[in-house]
Symmetry: D2
Subunit: 143 residues, 4 copies
């Protein structure tokens, strides 16, 4: 998330998932709390994977554990804003995948926040890294 | 919320607000946590009021404080279920309003949960009960 | 939760569990959001059960599903308040238990909120009501 | 958060703030959800500032807005783990401060997660960068 990187815009994301804010997303200062953006991110990633694979990815022998996340906050948001969460691949490896995420207020071209989300696939028993399941890899190829 | 009361169905609610679940709505048992239903409720109530009044009700001289809430859980829900939150008046008083709420999995006629939500209007400075603002009362009349 | 019932005080609770507030417990109005009280309640109930039984109650063949909850809000709370959650039995049945809960700001005798929390024990496979496990019943007897 | 940086240990943090987990911190996989770590972070930062300054920092003319956050997840946590959140300065500027945070399971020397949290101070009216308030700067000097 170097500041040298150009900030992506709406048209850079093929996948955008709608996400209404909730009343208690707002914190003491009357804006969406920094923590809540991460619930937008893991809802967007996992929601996309479940829909695009057509299977409940939580029940696969290999599950995606979150290894690292990050977010830069660019504009304030507030309930009842309606949001869209952009989702694209930053890097696809053998057992891990890095997503870039962006939060757009509905209709905006410029993001209110830019995120990063790293999934490492592990076998659900021993939690050791394994290959990304084929069904997930196929879904990732569409991003 | 007497168990003698007939459980309302979808057609009993003129107002239904869509609410996607989020990944972390699910708890250890793999279903939407009991706490989270209340975030559906206050998002539905406040979202309706802001839209139906056309004003930011949080900035009115009188604000609605939550005096009591309750929920009966009838069916399990799980991310990525898409929900609709039904909203209707149970009782309208001078300074307080009681909402009945219902959580429907999209397409279901029977609710997954039935809630109750009591707002008491107070002046924002001294937090003493005042009349429900006219603009809110007009919006409530449409429920 | 009839308003005729006398509001319990601190000394009415043998079990009190400490609970610090979190920054994002506060909502737009700068006070702990009504939803969050329920996370105090299920943390207090489940935390007590795990400690008092000495087993991970989530792994028992019978698990407690939440059938009903409720809360009356009496005083406002705000981060960084330190809280104590009082816990006692309202009613103990064959397969269900009703807890009364109370939220105290540390040092206060009078509660900031009074709650109700109903657990129904079911077998984890078929989710049908079963007897409360003995180990849980023994822990409940100490409340 | 380069992986080249040595992972800090418990003794590297002068300030450690206790943080019990909550039942619904756990997600579908039975471990603390990635989102929730950020609520530990902003509770630790803001809780420290309010205590160490002796004033309600939310009421100062300059408030800290969160510009960037990040977290690397190293070990799984689960309710009812009791945690300690370590807090130290990574960088102190004129109008911004970067905190390093670490999540320790009570008694552990090695962190379960390492975080980063950037506050930029702005005047509350126009939300433009201003100097870190003296009372905050004094508190930061103790970290």
């Amino acid at each position: 998330m170097s500041s040298a990187t150009a900030t992506p815009r709406r048209q850079d994301f093929k996948v955008l998932r709608s996400m209404p804010t909730r009343w208690n997303d707002n914190d003491h200062y009357g804006h969406v709390n920094n923590v809540v953006y991460y619930s937008y991110f893991d809802s967007a990633v996992n929601g996309y994977l479940i829909e695009a694979t057509g299977v409940d990815t939580r029940e696969l022998p290999a599950i995606g554990l979150v290894a690292e996340t990050g977010c830069r906050y660019l504009k304030e948001l507030s309930f009842p804003d309606r949001l869209e969460i952009g989702l694209r691949l930053e890097k696809l490896g053998t057992s891990s995948v890095i997503y870039q995420l962006a939060v757009f207020r509905s209709g905006d071209d410029e993001p209110a926040a830019i995120g990063r989300f790293v999934h490492v696939y592990v076998d659900r028993e021993h939690r050791r890294p394994v290959n990304i399941p084929d069904v997930v890899r196929t879904a990732l190829a569409k991003l």
